[in-house]
Assembly symmetry: C2
Amino acid sequence: MKIENIRSSDYDMIIGLLSEWWNGREVAAMLPRLFFTHFNNTSFIIKEKETIVGFIVGFISQTEKTKAYVHFIGVNPVMRNRKIGKLLYTSFFQAVRTLGVKEVLSVTSIDNKSSISFHQRVGFDIMANESLNDSGNPYYKDYDGPGQHRVLFKYNLENDVGVL
Amino acid sequence: MKIENIRSSDYDMIIGLLSEWWNGREVAAMLPRLFFTHFNNTSFIIKEKETIVGFIVGFISQTEKTKAYVHFIGVNPVMRNRKIGKLLYTSFFQAVRTLGVKEVLSVTSIDNKSSISFHQRVGFDIMANESLNDSGNPYYKDYDGPGQHRVLFKYNLENDVGVL
């Protein structure tokens, strides 16, 4: 397996895979090409020979340069349970730490239980709020628009002891 | 009218307006809150009293720091034909120029004729390609995913003589 910075040219292959990776769910609208063009130094792809194993797309906040945000992480379903997601996050954490980032943020849909538990396994904290989903996790109502409720995560890189 | 940097708190009001501004077209999925949180210093909103007149969301490329990208521009339909769009772009150009940007990029849907002519009036050049739409404008097939054809624009800030 080879991990490298993502390139704009990786987009065409990945965008055609997403619907299959997400069981037909339409996720391509969340991932316009801009994310593959303008954040190359903080986005990564893992390939094995010609197969795409997984990728992570994130960036450093322009508003607060000590914060980074992960917009999208995807793992090839045939490569699940091999800690690919953790490897992607580790690469992201290392890259943004050298750029001065102290906290990493991410969000996921309120009903995406596997993503919520994945982020918790990686070491993210769920951000507190009054609303709770049916698993008891706090969420933010209408966070990404009407009906688009989200669970918010943060990861403190300063407390990170490097055992991920 | 007052123009100011966009804030995360502007999101809730704007995201509820978009479907009305776009004649019922569902555009909220293109605009998750991250764009209102992490790019404040290069994103702007115009208000008149309590009414939102328009907004522009853009950022500086992390990959090439002399390039900036405009992701979204919206003008309240009751305020059309008052050069609000140009004012928003002028503010964006000024902000990114002081941050070292030399070229501004944007894309629009192949069938969004009013956006294409607006970008040309602002002074953007359409980027050349072999495929031509039915107005004769070059476009990039499947640019933002399968069936998502886009016209690409660039604006050279170095040739900008400040008459916008």
